[in-house]
Symmetry: C2
Subunit: 395 residues, 2 copies
């Protein structure tokens, strides 16, 4: 039997205990016999059945030679970092859902793991329960991945789906999402795209083998998307999604932004809190991975799947990491694409000409245009010379 | 360096050589240094650069102590079986794209592999390049899978997509697919659902741990789907897909049949030769895996990914298998669902009443109905008492 410790008894941490307690027999048949021996939390859970396994001192755990895996679900990059490091230095593998820590200190922690013959795994840090990290690490091993493009934040996808389906305002849907627990009280990290950005930074680091800083990635949230945008999108047969992407065709470019998604894209049908990620690679072409990108049990299940592999493949290096060398990203303005532009009717004719519009949608007071394909820099240059421009959204 | 032998230099086999030759450096960085030492084929390829590595005698390969993995891409269940067995008995892992052999002899070959400390892996036998077997084996390890439901045959999905988009006849689209190389000269295995059936039998065996015989699965192909069906489907906001499914909620039920797929299903946007498979499990809920279910490089890439794991995790048991005990399937007629029924106008009123129709679509000479939810047995009983029934399609 492999003894497991859970760091942090919050939503995901209690989910980890639930998943292991419920499905231990199943996992045993599949090759790893896991049991939760300790839960580390400074809070009091005296009414919870967990209380008998609760400890407040991390040293009790890492000094117990029976512990072979830690599931770190504390969040944050201070105590989680310190405790993860301590565990790894003892040769105890750490599996985490903590994207902030993985993005900030992943390279260092993976290096420590390697030096001590254990693993630092982080499936749950991106895409919740969707096996995305594992697919890149263990399934697409014969593939040169050249593009990742997808919906990595369930909160914003829920908001955009509701705006699309009900013609509702951003503010109203956000409020509803908060009431339903799909959005935080302070929704900034989600709606400004920071959460999706951290996740694409992790994926870009994994594919490139070098550290991609999330703060280097051009990021735009969904707060400026309005009901009029969705009217145009419908006319164009599109939906609007917050897309996090990275492209490795000529260096590495990365971006998080709302985009118009055509009906023939499999991302178009990724609705509500679901995530969906398209991976393009040289042999397989497009593949997509879809599922719940958040939620207690889905995320916990991914943490436990990592713990399973640490135990089942004990002594082997599972997955890959990246070095602490920072990858310099390309100018995102050099990425080519088409742009949807809303312009006041007075400026529409000129805008259509300058942008080589392929679609022109007349509304009462304004016009929607779809530009020809061009780089972002070209587009912004052209845009700066136009009058009456209201806004633009990328394709 | 791990030396690899490829059994069979057909489409997939030559793809395996291409994938390893092209991406060997990449795989080396990722933890497995593969090199193709031999290709086994009785045919002559004297003009092909492969000729220097070509052997006609399997014993040359299995008696070479340098060989650690065989990629079996011969097809069929006679020589492929004999040679795979020989290799495994020597402790050489075998990775295959051969669904016929996996379905027929997988349990025995996995047992032999286990007894000889090597692996028998078969990612490429289901869903081509989509990491589906690996996801079930290595990612969803903490999940109780209760349902698999998806599009597992690219040829029929191509045909149905073209019929849907162009209003074309089955026969015409089949001819076009044959000309494009998407359908075989003898298309029976695809259009009658046998190919999808073998694949769902493999998935059902993997999930249940017992052998599911493909011949035990109720299977219906797409040859009877016509342009009128697609007209009704459009009115219902649906597409028609050939769905292979298995359900483990109360024993194991399995079926392959055309089904109406509603617009809100992520399977609806799986078009052309692509495959898409929804997996439902207890912690993660729905997840979907999408990609090219066939094709030289996509399939080869999956074979090579298996070879990578055999080398990277040498000495460990990778994945899971099933026993040779046959799983008795439940009566598929006990599965509940809704049914779309076409009935001549003269019998429509009575049919709507008997079937508790929730939708009634009047066409010129006939009527389309959507039944209430009921078991297949109930439905067929009710149907037998009705007059003027033209056909039915499941939801």
């Amino acid at each position: 039997m492999a003894e497991v410790a859970v760091f942090g008894y919050g939503t995901v941490g209690s989910g980890v205990v639930e998943v292991i307690d419920n499905n231990a027999e199943l996992m045993k048949q599949r090759g790893a016999d896991l049991h939760v021996k300790y839960v580390l939390d400074i809070r009091d859970f005296s009414d919870d059945p967990i209380s008998s396994r609760l400890v407040k001192d991390v040293d009790v755990i890492i000094n117990d030679p029976e512990i072979s895996v830690v599931c770190e679900t504390m969040g944050g990059a201070t105590f989680a970092y310190e405790y993860s490091k301590k565990a790894l230095e003892k040769g105890i593998s750490v599996c985490t859902s903590n994207k902030e820590l993985v993005e900030a200190k992943g390279a260092e922690l993976m290096e420590i793991a390697k030096a001590h013959g254990c693993n630092y795994l982080f499936e749950a840090s991106v895409g919740g329960g969707i096996p995305l990290i594992r697919t890149i690490n263990e399934a697409l091993t014969a593939e040169r991945i050249d593009r990742i493009y997808g919906i990595l934040n369930g909160t914003t996808n829920y908001i955009l789906t509701k705006m699309d389906e009900n013609g509702a305002d951003f503010a109203d849907v956000l409020k509803e999402a908060q009431e339903l627990g799909y959005a935080e009280k302070d929704p900034t990290a989600d709606v400004e795209g920071h959460d999706a950005c951290r996740k694409i930074a992790i994926l870009a680091s994994l594919v490139s083998g070098k550290k991609v800083n999330w703060t280097d990635i051009e990021t735009e949230g969904i707060t400026k998307i309005d009901t009029e945008d969705f009217k145009y999108a419908k006319e164009l047969g599109c939906s609007i999604k917050l897309i996090a992407m990275c492209d490795f065709n000529d260096g590495c470019s990365a971006m998080v932004s709302p985009r118009l998604i055509t009906a023939d894209s499999p991302l178009n049908s990724v609705k509500g809190v679901f995530n969906g990620v398209l991976v393009h690679s040289d042999m397989l072409d497009d593949s997509m991975y879809y599922g719940r990108g958040a939620g207690k049990l889905a995320t916990a299940s991914a943490v436990v799947a990592d713990a399973f592999e640490c135990v089942h493949f004990a002594g082997k290096e599972v997955g890959r990491g990246w070095s602490s060398e920072t990858l310099k990203l390309c100018d995102p303005g050099e990425m080519k694409g088409r742009f949807f532009v809303r312009v006041e009717n007075t400026g529409a004719e000129e805008a259509a000409k300058v942008l080589g519009a392929t679609e022109i949608l007349k509304h009462e007071k304004e016009t929607g245009l779809v530009s020809a394909e061009m780089t972002g820099n070209d587009f912004k240059n052209k845009l700066s010379g136009l009058s009456g421009v209201i806004k633009f959204i990328r394709f």
